[in-house]
C-alpha cells in the first residue's frame, strides 16, 4: 500500500495557465468532489460522526428524564477500570487473540503447504480446508454446539465409549473459552490458507531444488527460505486475524452468551451487552473508545512499521 507516493505521475505544467485551462482545472476539481461526495456522506454518517459521538458520550454522564447528561470527565473510564468484569474481559480477549492468532496462522501455513504439494485427492483436501470460510459464523457455532453438548454431543458420545465421564465443555469456566477458540480457529485457518497458497505460487521452484541439492532438510528449507519469503503474507494475515479477534463475536451468541461467569466474554460482546441489554450507553461508549484506541494503534503500526519494512507491490 503506498500512502505517501504521489498518486498521479503526470508532471505539473510549468507554463502559466491560460483561462481555458484554468477553467478546466476548476471543473475537474468540482467533478472530483462530486464523485467522492456520496461515499463521503455515508462514511461521515456511519464512521466519522459515530466515532465523534462515541468519544462525546464517553465523557458524559448517563442522562435520565430528570437529570440531563452532563460532562463528567473520565468518570466513565474510571468506572470501567474499577469494574472487575472489565479486567476479565480484557484478559479473555488478550488470551483469545494470543491463542487463536498464532494457532490459526500456523495451521494455515501447514494447510497451504499440503494443499500446494502434489498429494492424492488434493482438490478434496483444499475444499475441506476452505469450506468453513463460506459458512456463517452462526451456523459454524451451531455445528460445534452439537459437538460440545454434554451427554448427547459428539465429543461426549465418543469419550463415553472409553468410559470417560461427561464434560460440559461450554458450561464450565475452565474449558469454555478454549472451546470457543477451537471454533474460531476452525473457521479462520482455511481462510488464511488461501493467502499463503497464493504466496507459495510466487516462490520459484528452483529454490527448493537448490536447497535439496545442498542437502538442507525440509525444516531448514522452511525456516531459512520459505518463512522469510512469506513474511509479508504473514504480516497481512496477522493484521486481519487481529482485527477479527476484536470484531468476530457471532459465535458467542450461540455457544455461551459470554458465560459461564464471564469466562468467554470478549470486548465487543460486552459492549453489545452494556448497550443493548443494560441500556448503559455511556459505559458502552467508553469501552468502544478504548477498542478504537487499540485499533488506531494497530493502524499506525501497519502504516508506519509493516508497510515500510515489507514492500507490497
Amino acid at each position: 500500500m503506498t500512502l505517501t507516493s504521489p498518486m498521479d505521475t503526470r508532471p505539473a505544467d510549468p507554463r502559466p495557465m491560460d483561462p481555458i485551462a484554468r477553467q478546466r482545472r476548476r471543473m475537474t476539481a468540482i467533478y472530483g468532489w462530486l464523485l467522492v461526495m456520496p461515499a463521503l456522506v455515508l462514511l461521515t454518517l456511519f464512521a466519522f460522526l459515530p466515532t465523534i459521538t462515541t468519544l462525546w458520550a464517553s465523557f458524559h454522564s448517563r442522562g435520565t428524564a430528570r437529570r440531563p447528561s452532563v460532562f463528567n470527565g473520565v468518570e466513565n473510564y474510571a468506572d470501567l477500570l474499577a469494574d472487575p468484569t472489565f479486567w476479565t474481559v480484557i484478559g479473555n480477549n488478550v488470551l483469545y487473540a494470543a491463542v487463536t492468532i498464532p494457532v490459526s496462522i500456523a495451521l494455515a501455513l501447514l494447510m497451504a503447504l499440503w494443499a500446494d504439494a502434489k498429494l492424492p485427492a488434493r482438490g478434496f483436501v483444499r475444499s475441506a480446508y476452505f469450506t468453513p470460510t463460506v459458512l456463517p459464523m452462526v451456523a459454524a457455532a451451531n455445528l460445534w454446539l452439537f459437538f460440545y453438548t454434554p451427554g448427547i454431543g459428539v465429543i461426549d458420545s465418543f469419550t463415553s465409549l472409553f468410559g470417560l465421564p461427561s464434560v460440559n465443555w461450554l458450561g464450565q469456566p475452565q474449558t469454555a473459552l478454549g472451546a470457543v477458540m477451537v471454533v474460531t480457529i476452525w473457521k479462520e485457518a482455511g481462510f488464511f490458507m488461501i493467502f499463503y497458497l497464493a504466496a507459495l505460487q510466487t516462490i520459484p521452484p528452483d529454490l527448493r531444488e537448490a536447497a535439496q541439492v545442498e542437502g538442507a532438510s525440509r525444516f531448514t528449507y522452511l525456516r531459512r527460505v520459505l518463512l522469510p519469503l512469506l513474511m509479508p503474507t504473514t504480516a497481512f494475515i496477522f493484521i486481519n486475524a487481529l482485527i477479527n479477534s476484536v470484531k468476530l463475536i457471532d459465535h458467542l451468541f450461540i455457544l455461551t452468551k459470554g458465560g459461564p461467569n464471564n469466562a468467554t466474554k470478549l470486548a465487543l460482546y460486552w459492549i453489545w451487552e452494556m448497550a443493548f441489554s443494560y441500556f448503559d450507553r455511556v459505559h458502552a461508549a467508553a469501552m468502544t473508545a478504548l477498542v478504537l484506541l487499540v485499533l488506531a494503534v494497530v493502524a499506525i503500526v501497519q502504516f508506519s512499521v509493516i508497510d515500510k519494512r515489507i514492500h507490497y507491490r
Binding site: 468540482i30 467533478y31 462515541t54 497481512f236
Partner: protein
C-alpha cells in the same frame, strides 16, 4: 552445507522423500477429515429420526422428517428473501459509490484528495462492528430500524471497495481515456465505457467477497431488526437454535444446513473462481 554432501545427498534424498510424502498425505487427509467432520456429523444427525442423532447402528432408517419440521418451524422464505434483499442492496450500493469514489481518487485532481483518501482508509480500522452503539443511534435517527436499508447502509461506502477500484482504475492506460474523450465521451461516459469494463474481474472478485460477507453477517442485522418480517437468515437461525426454543439437535442441524446450503453449494460448484476471487480481493 559443503560440496561433499552433494554426492551422497542424491541417492539418499529419494527414499526419504517418499516416506515424507506418505506422512504428508496422511497428515493432510487427517486434517481435512477433522475439518469437514462438523459438517458430516450435522448432515448425519439431520437425516436421523429424533433421539437417534448419533446412533450409527441402523443406517437404513434415514429420514427427511427433520428438514420438514425445521422448514415449518420458522418463516425461512421470508428470512431468505430478506438476506437476498440485504445482499443485493449492499452490493449495488457498494458498486455505485465505490466506483464513483474510486474513479475520483484514481483520475481526478482536486484539493484535499490525499487527506480525504487517508480518511477513507481509516475506515478499514474504524470497523462498523465496533461502532454498533452509535450506528444504531444514527440508523434510528434516520428512521431505518427494521429495514433492509438500515441493515446495509453502514457497509455501502466500503473503504476496501474504494481502495480496490482505485487500484484497478489506476492501472488503466490514460491513452484509452483520452481516445474516448476525443470521440466526445463525457466524464461519466468514459467511466462507463472505459474504466468499468476494464475492471470487470475486480468487480467480480469484490462481488463474491461482498456477497459472502453480508450473507453471513449477523451482529449488525441482529441489532437493527426487531421483527420476523425483516430478519435475515443468520438472525433467524440464531433464534431458532436457541436452547430455550426447545427444538432438538437433529432439527437444529437440518436448519443449519439449510441456511448454509446456498453458499456451500455455490462454493462447491464455483470453487476455483471463489478461491481466486478471495485471493484477488485480499491481496493488496
Amino acid at each position: 552445507m559443503t560440496d561433499l554432501s552433494l554426492s551422497d545427498a542424491a541417492p539418499r534424498v529419494h527414499p526419504r522423500f517418499d516416506a515424507g510424502k506418505l506422512l504428508d498425505t496422511a497428515g493432510a487427509w487427517l486434517l481435512a477429515l477433522i475439518w469437514v467432520a462438523p459438517l458430516i456429523f450435522a448432515l448425519w444427525a439431520s437425516l436421523r429420526p429424533a433421539g437417534m442423532a448419533l446412533d450409527f447402528s441402523q443406517v437404513s432408517s434415514l429420514t427427511l422428517e427433520n428438514y420438514r419440521a425445521a422448514w415449518l418451524a420458522a418463516p425461512w422464505l421470508t428470512y431468505g428473501a430478506n438476506t437476498l434483499g440485504l445482499v443485493t442492496f449492499t452490493l449495488i450500493g457498494q458498486f455505485i459509490l465505490c466506483t464513483l469514489a474510486g474513479y475520483a481518487f484514481a483520475r481526478f485532481e482536486f484539493p484535499g484528495r490525499e487527506a480525504l483518501f487517508v480518511l477513507v482508509l481509516l475506515q478499514l480500522f474504524i470497523l462498523p462492528e465496533v461502532l454498533i452503539v452509535e450506528n444504531y443511534a444514527m440508523v434510528s435517527r434516520l428512521g431505518l430500524i427494521d429495514s433492509i436499508t438500515g441493515m446495509g447502509l453502514p457497509y455501502v461506502a466500503s473503504a476496501f471497495g474504494i481502495f480496490l477500484l482505485r487500484q484497478a482504475f489506476k492501472s488503466v492506460p490514460v491513452e484509452l481515456e483520452e481516445a474516448a474523450r476525443v470521440e466526445g465521451c463525457s466524464w461519466l461516459g468514459v467511466l462507463w465505457r472505459v474504466y468499468v469494463p476494464a475492471a470487470r474481474p475486480v468487480y467480480l472478485a469484490y462481488a463474491l467477497v461482498s456477497v459472502a460477507t453480508h450473507w453471513n453477517n449477523f451482529l449488525w442485522p441482529l441489532i437493527v431488526t426487531n421483527n420476523p418480517d425483516t430478519r435475515p437468515l443468520t438472525v433467524g437461525l440464531s433464534l431458532f437454535g436457541a436452547p430455550e426454543s426447545g427444538v432438538n439437535i437433529s432439527i437444529i442441524s437440518a436448519a443449519t444446513l439449510m441456511v448454509a446450503a446456498p453458499l456451500l453449494v455455490a462454493f462447491l460448484i464455483f470453487q476455483r473462481q471463489f478461491i481466486q476471487a478471495f485471493l484477488r480481493a485480499g491481496i493488496r
